[in-house]
């Protein structure tokens, strides 16, 4: 058979299949429905799983970019988002910080010390309690926690140990319920006067929104009296170096402490990569599970196609006989029914893709769920639908192609 003849056959097969499908629209629709639902749910559920993963990831990177945090105290897993970080006994020393700061800039970009305790805040006749954090001017950049009004304290404020404070938005609302401009106002922290220089942006986390930030030098002199710190925040140069950086710091700090292993150390390092890895790992597993369940419904849809194709072959036995008498070879009959099965499954797949997008859009618009359709899921679900059409249409088509023309012509 020449290439042109093949092309003619392919075109005619498609035309015949379309005609046969259109001649029984309701049945065709019901047959394809299984595939439609299967493809739509693969795409829709994957979109939900993926959306959830992205949402968590963006919340995590909201903590700061390439963040490593050295904590005082016993290791407690990767508690980067631990709720309580106040009142940790400060056991990190100037030697630790000096080592970290001495690392090359392709490992460490910047660092910020941090200690905190609860403090009593007062403005005029209003009182509130907040976490008072003593830290360095780098803190906003490292923790991705910036002033929304005013400006954060500077190196000069640090050197002069000025009594200046950047207040969290919740603290601002409690101390200044009339919404007045707080810049320049003097509030008291544990009885000491502090000038308000900034309001921090809202983070939606009570630990941050109900905190106030003062220069570390001021904190050391006026509140803690300790030279040590509870936390060292580190911004690594890139995500690629974070594990290398973590082990470098761990080794040096163990050496400084003359402690053989992390199990016995009085510090631990939380790595943003671990957390993102864990969370996205969970999200990926979840997505895979959902897609797997959806794929089963796609498989069931395929069985529906096989069922109807078998009925269709039986119903059209005489037609097959006529075609064979007129010169149709086995493979002509086979391709005709295969084409029909694939058109059903691919058509169902196409509708399913549209429905999947619609589902994802609706989940976002009306369900308030993060939902992102991935091109991969569309491609995989659609190809799977076509493969299912080929696979489950294959047996009926093969049966049709093996009919004896004499028997088929005699079939009533």
């Amino acid at each position: 058979m020449t290439g042109r003849a093949r092309l003619v056959m392919l075109w005619e097969n498609s035309a015949m299949s379309f005609r046969s499908i259109l001649s029984n629209k309701v049945r065709a629709f019901l047959t394809a429905l299984g595939v439609v639902i299967g493809v739509a749910s693969v795409i829709g559920l994957t979109a939900l799983g993926h959306g959830a993963g992205i949402a968590v990831e963006s919340r995590l990177s909201n903590l700061g970019a390439n963040l490593l945090i050295v904590y005082s105290g016993e290791p407690r897993g990767t508690s980067l988002v631990r709720q309580r970080t106040t009142n940790i006994a400060p056991m990190l020393t100037a030697d630790d910080l000096e080592f970290i700061d001495s690392l090359p800039s392709d490992l460490v970009v910047k660092t910020a010390r941090e200690s905190s305790q609860n403090g009593q805040l007062k403005f005029e006749n209003r009182n509130t309690v907040a976490t008072v954090i003593g830290t360095d001017p780098n803190y906003p950049d490292i923790r991705n926690f910036h002033p929304m009004y005013g400006s954060f304290f500077s190196e000069l404020d640090m050197e002069s140990r000025r009594n200046v404070v950047a207040i969290g938005v919740q603290t601002y609302r409690e101390l200044f319920p009339d919404g007045r401009d707080p810049l320049g106002a003097t509030i008291r922290i544990n009885g000491l006067p502090f000038h308000v220089i900034a309001i921090m942006e809202e983070k939606g986390s009570p630990t941050q929104d109900a905190s106030v930030l003062i220069p570390f030098t001021t904190y050391r002199r006026s509140l803690s009296g300790s030279d040590n710190y509870a936390i060292i925040n580190i911004q690594a140069a890139s995500t690629d170096v974070m594990y290398e950086l973590q082990s470098t710091i761990e080794n040096e700090m163990l050496r400084l402490r003359r402690v053989p292993s992390m199990e016995m150390a009085n510090f631990y390092i939380a790595n943003q990569m671990d957390l993102i890895g864990t969370v996205t790992g969970v999200a990926d597993t979840f997505t895979l599970l959902l897609a797997g369940i959806a794929a089963i419904s796609l498989l069931v849809g395929g069985i529906g196609i096989m069922n109807i194709m078998l009925v269709s072959v039986t119903e059209r036995t005489r037609e097959i006989g006529v075609r064979m008498a007129l010169g149709a070879k086995g493979r002509h009959v086979m391709t005709q029914f295969l084409t029909e099965a694939v058109i059903l499954s691919a058509g169902g797949g196409l509708i399913g893709v549209l429905l999947g997008y619609l589902f994802s859009w609706g989940a976002q618009r009306f369900g308030g769920l993060a939902s992102v359709v991935t091109p991969d899921s569309v491609l995989i679900a659609f190809s799977f639908a076509v493969v299912i059409g080929l696979f489950f249409g294959g047996y009926p088509a093969y049966r049709a192609s093996r009919l004896d023309p004499i028997e088929a012509l005699r079939y009533e």
């Binding site: 003849a5 003619v8 005609r19 006529v322 075609r323 010169g327 149709a328 070879k329 086995g330 012509l409």
Partner: protein
């Protein structure tokens, strides 16, 4: 055109073997109009199926247009049918969802001929059988006689070596049946080789030659029979 020599064909029917053809030899020349008759069970249908390349004999030789076709595989037989044989059935066997024109195009599709040439050839063939005004009608919109004309056009469209008509008037009233027979005679007059399979002796009388089968053997093979 057709050279059949010593063909045997046996069928398993339930527990017994049926000798459908027990050594049949037959020659049909191009342009002939031959009727094959015989009572049911005579082997008439089996012979027709073998002549039409729908079936193969167990033994013997069958030369069709100079080509030995007795031992071809199913797909090769399909190709021979497509190129050499035109079928006309008792119940027309038009595809119900295809128009008259599309039905006539079918054999050309399996020959891989492009749409434009196919259409033109099929149109010409429908005109020849007198259906210029029914080309886009579906079989359900055609009378019995019109349907059989479509079927004849379909049988003719590929320019076959022979037309095999199996009780072509069996589903038609007498008058329409006579019209169809007149069309066959006209086609034969134009040079088409025609084999008519029937149990109706009156119909067989239209043919130039009569071949009668009984119990799987040819018992009568003569020209110009009048019953």
């Amino acid at each position: 055109m057709i050279h059949i020599s010593d063909i045997h064909k046996r069928y398993q029917m339930g527990p017994t073997m049926v000798n459908a053809l027990g050594g049949v030899s037959l020659q049909i020349e191009a342009g002939e109009f031959v009727a094959i008759t015989g009572p049911s069970g005579s082997g008439k249908s089996t012979l027709m199926n073998i002549i039409g390349c729908l079936d193969s004999p167990d033994s013997g030789s069958y030369l069709l247009a100079g080509e030995e076709v007795a031992e071809l595989a199913p797909d090769d037989l399909a190709e021979i049918r497509n190129l050499r044989v035109g079928f006309v059935f008792q119940t027309f066997n038009l595809l119900p969802r295809a128009t008259a024109l599309e039905n006539v195009e079918l054999p050309l599709i399996y020959r891989g001929i492009g749409a434009r040439r196919r259409r033109a050839t099929a149109q010409a063939m429908l005109e020849r059988v007198g259906l210029d005004d029914r080309m886009t009608h579906l079989p359900t919109e055609l009378s019995g006689g019109q349907s059989q004309r479509v079927a004849i056009a379909r049988a003719l469209v590929g320019g076959p070596a022979l037309i095999l008509a199996d009780e072509p008037t069996g589903a038609l009233d007498t008058r329409t049946g006579e019209e169809i027979m007149a069309l066959f005679e006209e086609l034969n007059h134009d040079g088409v080789t025609l084999i008519l399979v029937t149990h109706d002796n009156a119909l067989a009388a239209h043919a130039d030659r009569l071949v009668r089968l009984l119990d799987g053997l040819i018992v009568d093979n003569r020209a110009g029979v009048i019953v």
